[in-house]
């Protein structure tokens, strides 16, 4: 075997060295090596979004990435977004609006929504619009399109959208 370069990965601000099997996905690294089980495995094939985390601020599917590829990267997981004693605004809104039923897709939904809000601020376009920076809280259809990378098997979509809108509205108001 050729030498596998070590990867030094910052997860929620703490550095971890990874020297193991290069087959390890970023998702399994988080769950199995670090014991951070907030990030979920739904499909393991990029089809559901349950494994969404931020890599250097951008949302990605951690199941379709190798841990060794993340040398020098900063990862943020749901644990880094907020814990029960200190919930983020999005997390509070999900609780208030019942933005889930079983809760399995929820960490991915929240990580995804947090990054989506930044994409909106950066005026990224979507399949529906040419950018909506001028509109602080976009339409439901716009949010659904931008959240389409996260499936919810329980079908809690209406409440998920309500939670995201509420959190975005509060951010605008503050």
């Amino acid at each position: 075997m050729a030498h596998t370069p070590a990867a030094r990965i910052a997860v929620n601000g703490t550095y971890h060295d990874y020297n193991g099997d290069p087959r390890r996905s970023l998702l399994d690294f988080l769950r199995l090596e670090l014991g951070m089980t907030g990030t979920k495995k739904g499909c393991d094939h990029g089809q559901c979004g349950a494994c969404t985390v931020h890599v250097n601020g951008r949302r990605v599917n951690s199941c379709l990435s190798l841990a060794v590829m993340h040398d020098g990267d900063e990862i943020t997981t749901i644990e880094g977004i907020g814990m029960p004693d200190k919930l983020s605004a999005l997390q509070k809104a999900f609780v208030e609006h019942d933005g889930y039923q079983c809760g399995y897709c929820t960490p991915g939904q929240i990580c995804s929504a947090a990054a989506m809000i930044e994409e909106l601020k950066a005026d990224w376009p979507s399949a529906l619009t040419e950018g909506v920076a001028s509109n602080p809280v976009p339409s439901d259809d716009e949010l659904r399109e931008r959240m389409s990378g996260n499936l919810c098997r329980c079908g809690a979509y209406d409440n998920i959208i309500a939670a995201i809108k509420d959190a975005m509205g509060k951010e605008v108001a503050s």
Binding site: D21, R23, S25, W124, S148, G149
Partner: protein, 320 residues
């Protein structure tokens, strides 16, 4: 997943000529490695070789091979002068996937044929000489144009369909020199060797895509699929249409998910040029497109679907 050696390329010369399988975003390759459809002995990570910028080139633009789909679609120059490309990218995959997917990897993504991906059915693409389970099988997503007895799979992507309509070029670095291939010639028909999907030779690396000078006109990407988002195309149309005094002055068209490559038929563009747009004209255009179309049962519907989608796009573009 089969075991493999992993290494990182430091720069382009490191990557060119390598026997290892290149990995960029990994969103297609790792998916197929998990299924053991792809079983490379060695992976070479090209994410740190640069080539991640979008820069002017002549009157056009050069999009580096490692530019993510998200960055390309959000680029102000792309949105202003080549909106078709931005629209096609945004019609594909999901925001999370587009954040990882790269220009080079997207071009090289493999077919979504279920028999290719199941890793056990007869499949000439995965294991040459074993047959094609899709013929006589479940072939709803399969090709109706340019098929062969060996394979009826489609190239499933969206970005390359826009690049074909725009007549962009793929820039490729090889062991001895670099070359440029039109996107229209980059992907190949299956013929009797469906294991080959494009003209890349072993050791070659895509360094980028160049967009020619912007063309005036309405730019439309219309994708028909089973759900509103996050699904591959059943078929798609990429169109650039310019009108002049009630007539079609210029047309560039390409079609997705109808064939093993983004489909481009210059005869359609010629036919439309100089004509007054009418439903009858659109029908003639569809006649040309579908002249040799062949359904395989479950995908027969793609023939009338392609006709109607082309007509709808032309009507929208010309204001009929």
């Amino acid at each position: 997943m089969k075991a493999f050696d992993y290494a990182r390329a430091a720069d382009l010369p490191d990557a060119v000529g390598s026997d290892a399988k290149l990995i960029a975003g990994g969103t297609n390759l790792l998916d197929l490695m998990k299924l053991e459809v792809e079983t490379p002995d060695a992976l070479l990570d090209i994410n740190r070789i640069g080539l991640d910028l979008i820069e002017p080139e002549g009157d056009g633009l050069r999009v580096g091979a490692l530019v993510t789909n998200s960055d390309c679609a959000a680029d102000a120059r792309v949105r202003k002068d080549w909106p078709l490309l931005s629209k096609a990218i945004l019609a594909g995959a999901s925001p999370q996937l587009r954040n990882k997917a790269t220009t080079g990897g997207n071009l090289c993504q493999r077919t979504r044929c279920g028999y290719f991906m199941d890793n056990q059915s007869p499949c000439n693409k995965r294991e040459p000489g074993t047959g094609c389970a899709a013929q006589g099988g479940f072939n709803r997503i399969h090709a109706i144009l340019g098929t062969s007895d060996a394979c009826i799979a489609t190239y499933p992507g969206d970005m390359a369909v826009a690049l074909s309509a725009l007549d962009a070029q793929v820039v490729i670095a090889g062991r001895s020199d670099s070359r440029t291939v039109r996107v229209r010639d980059f992907h190949v028909l299956p013929g009797d060797a469906p294991q080959h999907e494009n003209v890349l030779q072993p050791g070659e690396v895509i360094t980028g895509v160049t967009l020619p000078a912007p063309v005036e006109g309405v730019q439309i990407y219309r994708k028909v699929r089973d759900r509103a988002s996050y699904a591959f195309a059943l078929m798609s149309v990429a169109a650039v249409i310019r009108m002049d005094q009630g007539r079609i002055a210029h047309a560039q068209l390409a079609f997705g998910s109808l064939a093993h490559k983004p489909w481009h038929d210059p005869r359609i563009e010629e036919l439309l040029k100089g004509e007054t747009p009418t439903p009858a004209l659109f029908d003639k255009a569809a006649d040309l497109l579908l002249e040799d179309a062949k359904g395989y049962g479950a995908n027969d519907f793609k023939i009338p679907l392609a006709r109607r989608t082309l007509a709808a796009v032309l009507a929208e573009a010309t204001g009929v």
